[in-house]
Symmetry: C2
Subunit: 259 residues, 2 copies
């Protein structure tokens, strides 16, 4: 029981340590595993267990339980296929917030993000924002020069604008011939390298305002993905990759002994 | 050739990926391996090769070659024993700057740091500094309240004082009943969690000014070690530990494909 085989995977650098369950992990175990210098290192730990449906558990690096994580779900889907728990194609993964549909096609993993709708349009400081609901709120604005876009000044101003009493994510987008390029200001976080629901919101606006056809390629600073709209639902397709596999000696957790 | 077995080790959190040589690594390989999100992750990469003496090569995480690294040398010594290249006890490791003597006693690894000498004493701003040469220069000052010691203000003032045209490392030390506790301002770096030669300098002053007996326990913010003086030479003994072992697929370096 002390030697645990693990897999290190990432989706655009959002990286996880994956273990095969069933397995009881304590918060201390999770912190030891996640420590980048004394342990294995990662943004969090995922345990995938065989069953119908397959089961996913997720912990943040600090040892706290997390309910969902889109990139984590993608890694779990890929590993489930490689461990023989599922076949390539579509299947369900049970998460603490219910079953989630995934589709595995090689390293490209599609995750269903649900319905998308336009909730309105708003002109603020002369710019026109498309207000999009992807389960969470987004305000999408087209810009000419994306590199020079004032994400860090306009982003928080829109997030906290009186029009959005619960705040909003803000996407600055440029419509290219072959897709959308965007930068994102995440509500409560700041500018980030990628935001799954923000990519869906930007792609949705692209199909409406720029008449693009689904699937839409969306580029973010952290990488690129594809958004597909099918039967009124959105799917975000992002590649995941293995970094390495290894064996961790649970009886000698570095962090506990050294930290 | 594409599947490389590796070992992840650390000395006080100074962490390395170790591989068995002979092995040709490109700077790109090293950067891919060292990347904490897309690769394995570490401060650097070490290759240890059997021979007489055993051979060590070291690369920084950025792909540049490094000549020496005390913690890296310790990890190499431990791994050389575990791979059957050497037996516990004392042996030489060949580095780019020549052979270095090591002693392996379980996880405690002693590295010889050479001769130590007092080069003088200097009173600056009312404080008395012991000037110590450990191959590089150190100014050691005793303080009553180590937590409140003005490391970040006095450190740079002493480093750049006219008395030290080439600069100096500065150690703020407290002599306890059971050893020395210290904080260090490293020349050209700033305050750090640990400094091997600084620990030797502090321990040397402890044997002179505080009449401590060798071996001397030295506590730094990053951990603790032991300094021993034998036949006019200094040895620094620091524990190293394995974090995990793994297999890295060289053909699929995450960083290159994703970054």
């Amino acid at each position: 029981m002390s030697d645990l085989e693990f897999f290190k995977m990432n989706g655009w650098g959002n990286d996880f340590v994956l273990l095969e369950g069933p397995l009881d992990l304590s918060p201390d175990d999770v912190r030891s595993i996640s420590d980048r210098r004394f342990g294995i290192g990662g943004d969090g730990v995922l345990v995938v267990s065989a069953g119908s449906p397959i089961r996913m558990e997720y912990w943040n690096a600090d040892g706290s339980r997390a309910e969902m994580c889109g990139n984590g779900l993608r890694c779990v889907a890929r590993l489930a296929v490689d461990l023989g728990m599922a076949s390539e194609g579509a299947f369900d993964v049970n998460t603490p917030v219910g079953a989630r549909r995934v589709e595995v096609d090689g390293d490209d993993i599609a995750v269903e993000l649900g319905a998308v709708s336009v909730t309105g349009h708003e002109k603020i400081d002369g710019d026109r924002y498309h207000l999009i609901d992807v389960g969470n709120p987004h305000a999408v604005v087209e810009v000419d020069d994306l590199d020079a876009a004032p994400v860090s000044t306009v982003g928080p101003r829109i997030e906290n604008h009186e029009h959005f009493p619960k705040g909003t994510n803000v996407e600055f987008v440029r419509f290219d011939a072959d897709g959308v390029t965007m930068r994102v200001w995440e509500r409560g976080v700041g500018e980030t390298l990628a935001c799954g629901t923000g990519m869906v919101a930007a792609a949705f606006v692209a199909t409406k305002a720029a008449k693009m056809q689904s699937p839409v390629t969306v580029r973010v600073p952290g990488g690129a993905g594809t958004v597909e709209f099918r039967d009124g639902k959105s799917w975000l397709i992002v590649p995941v990759s293995y970094s390495f596999k290894g064996v961790w000696d649970r009886a000698k957790p570095g962090a506990g002994a050294q930290g």
